[in-house]
């Protein structure tokens, strides 16, 4: 076997209650290689990684680490042999210190007592490997006091705490802003330079082409191909992932502009944002764009009455609305799709129907009793309209894939017959196919007369879906871009011009 190969998974097979999750997949990971795994949800990437990291056993096939066959009974076995897994959902003990989290499962002890000194010292030296982003984390700090990006560093440190040879990242940037993601990429490259082999699961083509050396494409439990990043492009990868040519990733844009639907004037909630004004029109998809932390989500929450506003007026179809909570917003016709589906969007332990009626129980009840018949009909209607795949309307919504959950969350809002839909990260964590479907759907809804506002931290999505964008930076509207002008470059330029201006301003202030 090649000396450079640190890990080889050969002919891995896995069934889940009757269906094939993996049909004989073989992958090789070289030392110091950053190896992207791409594929739609359900393609088998996560299953393969879970098998490699000992979460569950394979039905057939073998895994070789440094040329020797290994059998892992649990994730701890795998970690102790040098396979670390940084999960998408951070799995840390929030109430404990950074050091304790890094060494969970193998704390340094002397005579049964935890040796705090060496715990903190070792943690320090692991964190120092990450450069600046690691140095700012103290081993004694409680994890709950850290930002998400720093918590992710702790998660990586945890994987490195036992002599690490292979490190698996599952969509690590899904909750990071661009600056934080760049910091993470630097850390990943540094680890690869040390000879650690890295598997990188992601839906974001850009970051894969920016970061990775090799790409393995998976579809329906099979490996389609493994190729070098230099020899391919995003189009080829995406079309191989979905198994068909995606001619147009984004739907046709529209240039017709109907009457004004929503007007926001002077909306203020200090210190997050102030004096925000913009309008939306029928038949148009508006984007609120800006860096993560610019205040987009906060503005949306404020329009919908979730957070209190300090000043400003909201008009729907020209009428001034008093909106002080989300129920009043819904009555005014404004609905908000949350960015965090699991935490704020759905009752994961409850059925599709129950989720459907949750926001408007009254609409589905007669004399105070809920009619599940009507709810079933409504669910059925949106199933067809949004192409949702599920077995029964009575199954738990948590058992569906991310894409289907996202569609149902949207259906729940559509059932409320909104005039204005504000969608926060409408395609977060769902695969390329479902993404395209949701984009098509947004265009259709917009054509039907619903005014749509999209907030997305994926710049290509904002540019691809929206007809016009309002650019927000540090809580202010700093520009508006529409039509031909609407490109990623233009948005970035608008934001950086503004930031430059601000710097000069503060410089002048200092000088003056």
């Amino acid at each position: 076997m090649d000396q450079n190969v640190v890990l080889k998974a050969e002919n891995i097979e896995k069934h889940f209650t009757g269906t094939y999750a993996l049909k004989g997949v073989t992958v090789e990971l070289k030392k110091g290689e950053i190896h992207a795994l791409v594929g739609e949800n359900g393609a088998g990437k996560s299953t393969l990684m879970n098998i490699i990291s000992g979460v569950f056993p394979a039905d057939a096939g073998s895994i070789y680490l440094d040329g020797e066959q290994v059998h892992f009974h649990n994730p701890n076995d795998a970690q102790m042999s040098g396979i670390g897994f940084v999960h998408q959902e951070l799995a840390l003990c929030q109430d404990l210190s950074v050091g304790n989290n890094i060494f969970i499962g193998h704390l340094p002890t002397a005579k049964g007592m935890v040796d705090n000194e060496s715990l903190n010292r070792e943690s320090r030296s692991i964190l120092n490997q990450f450069g600046e982003s690691g140095k700012s984390i103290a081993p004694e700090e409680l994890v709950s006091s850290l930002s998400v990006a720093k918590q992710q560093m702790v998660e990586i440190a945890k994987a490195l705490s036992s002599d690490c040879k292979v490190l698996i990242f599952d969509e690590p940037t899904s909750s990071l802003n661009e600056g934080e993601a760049r910091g993470l990429f630097r850390v990943i490259r540094r680890l690869a330079d040390q000879g650690i082999g890295i598997f990188y699961i992601s839906h974001k083509m850009e970051e894969i082409f920016q970061l990775c050396d090799t790409i393995t494409i998976m579809r329906d439990g099979c490996k389609i191909e493994t190729l070098s990043v230099q020899d391919t492009d995003a189009e080829h990868v995406v079309s191989n992932m979905v198994g068909r040519e995606l001619e147009n990733l984004y739907p046709q844009k529209s240039n017709k502009r109907g009457r004004e639907m929503l007007r926001v004037e002077g909306l203020t909630r200090k210190p997050v944002f102030e004096n925000i004004s913009f309008s939306t029109y029928q038949g148009e998809i508006l984007g609120l764009c800006g860096l993560v932390g610019a205040g987009r989500t906060e503005i949306a929450r404020c329009i919908c009455g979730i957070d209190k506003r300090q000043a400003g007026d909201i008009y729907v179809e020209g009428h001034k609305m008093t909106i002080s909570n989300c129920k009043e917003a819904a009555r005014a016709g404004i609905c908000y799709l949350t960015e965090d589906r699991k935490k704020d969007g759905l009752f994961l332990e409850m059925s599709l129907i129950e989720n459907m009626i949750a926001p408007q129980i009254d609409a589905f009840s007669h004399y105070g009793l809920v009619s599940s018949k009507e709810a079933e009909l409504a669910t059925q209607k949106y199933k067809e309209m949004l192409n949702v795949k599920y077995a029964s309307p009575f199954q738990n919504i948590g058992s569906l894939s991310g894409g289907n959950q996202q569609k149902l969350m949207l259906a729940k809002l559509l059932a409320m017959k909104p005039k204005v839909l504000i969608l926060d990260e409408p395609t977060r964590g769902i695969d390329v196919g479902a993404k395209a479907e949701i984009h098509q759907l947004l265009r259709r809804l917009s054509d039907e007369g619903i005014s749509i506002i999209v907030i997305s931290s994926e710049m290509p999505e904002t540019v691809g879906v929206c007809d016009r964008v309002v650019v927000i930076n540090v809580g202010r509207v700093i520009g508006e871009i529409a039509g031909e002008q609407l490109t990623q470059e233009k948005i970035v330029a608008t934001i950086s011009e503004f930031s430059e201006g601000q710097k000069e301003e503060s410089y002048e202030e200092q000088v003056g």
Binding site: L92, L96, M113
Partner: protein
């Protein structure tokens, strides 16, 4: 160079002081001291040797149980059966001794009763994944039921036999002015606090309580950890039962009833999180001490016994409100 290291030392002193001040134990301690100063001014009856002795003896058994309850709460559960198990252990000691079993053997049986009850709780909660509330509530009823059967609903006195006098010395004797029971309690609390803070086994309980799935994925045997937590509450309840029998020389059908609520309330007041993952033995024990000082104050001030429940409950709710508000401020 020297000045640099000096300033660093100063900084770490400041941050250590800050750390101490931010600890929950500290605020409980301050409130406790304020209460003590207040009652000492109000009445000379508080700061007397007799009163302090009675109060300390009164909370000793609860304090021992609080050690284990801290871990149960940290693990994300709790144990409602501790009071009944305490009662059952005390009754077992008295009944066995009266029936001719050696007093020391009877004590072992009392502790064994705790291990068995705790073991059953632990296996049901840890391995069968039953809800801790229901399981320990059931155990509370079962243990109390046996207590009623054994005592016939009344009380049984410990009859004189070989070793009984020595046995009674533990619960009611003194070294100088300090009751032996209080010394025993202090030894337990100090060892318990150190172990919970520092030992690797206890740290695993924190991991489990903070994030069970992560703990499991990290190779911690979460089931065993949870089981052992309830075995520990059982053992310490058993020991507290033996000490109670030693203290009173009798066991009644109501021995130990209500202890679970006192101890859980005290732990929460002392900063142990009901959500798991957070807490110290020192905090929980300070909570126990505070609760019993408060009821002592009520007695001294001649407040009707009937009002005491009300006030204890109100203090518990105030403690939680205070906790929530201070957390909100931090965020």
């Amino acid at each position: 160079m020297k000045s640099k290291s000096d300033s660093k030392g100063g900084n770490s002193q400041v941050s250590a002081w800050k750390k101490i001040r931010s600890m929950k134990e500290f605020s409980v301690l301050v409130i406790l001291l304020v209460l003590i100063v207040f009652i000492s001014i109000m009445s000379p009856a508080f700061l007397t040797v007799t009163n302090l002795r009675t109060t300390a003896i009164g909370f000793s058994c609860n304090a021992i149980i609080a050690i284990a309850m801290t871990l149960a709460l940290v693990s994300g559960g709790f144990d409602l059966s501790v009071g009944s198990v305490l009662g059952l252990s005390a009754v077992s000691v008295v009944v066995l001794t009266n029936n001719g079993v050696s007093i020391w053997l009877a004590c072992l049986v009392g502790i064994l009763v705790g291990i068995i009850c705790g073991g059953i709780n632990g296996v049901l909660i840890g391995y069968l994944n039953l809800n801790a509330f229901i399981t320990t509530l059931g155990m509370q009823q079962m243990a109390r039921g046996i207590v009623y059967v054994l005592t016939n609903g009344g009380s049984i006195g410990l009859q004189d036999a070989a070793g009984v006098e020595a046995f009674r010395y533990v619960g009611s004797g003194s070294v100088g002015n300090i009751p032996v029971l209080v010394i025993v309690c202090l030894v337990f609390v100090i060892i318990g606090d150190i172990l919970v803070r520092r030992s690797g086994l206890a740290r695993n309980v924190f991991f489990v309580g903070s994030n069970e799935k992560t703990a499991m994925l990290s190779g911690i045997n979460t089931r065993l950890v949870k089981t052992m937590v309830y075995v520990l509450t059982g053992v310490l309840s058993g020991i507290a039962g033996v000490l109670t029998a030693s203290r009173f020389g009798t066991a009644t059908s109501s021995t130990g009833s209500g202890v679970e609520m006192t101890v859980i309330s005290a732990a929460v007041i002392g900063g142990v999180s009901l959500a798991g993952g957070k807490g110290t033995v020192a905090g929980a024990v300070l909570g126990v001490v505070m609760m019993s000082v408060i009821s002592n104050i009520l007695v001294i001030l001649n407040v009707s016994v009937h009002w005491q429940n009300f006030i204890t409950g109100a203090i518990l709710i105030l403690a939680i409100i205070f906790d929530v508000l201070s957390n909100r401020k931090k965020n």
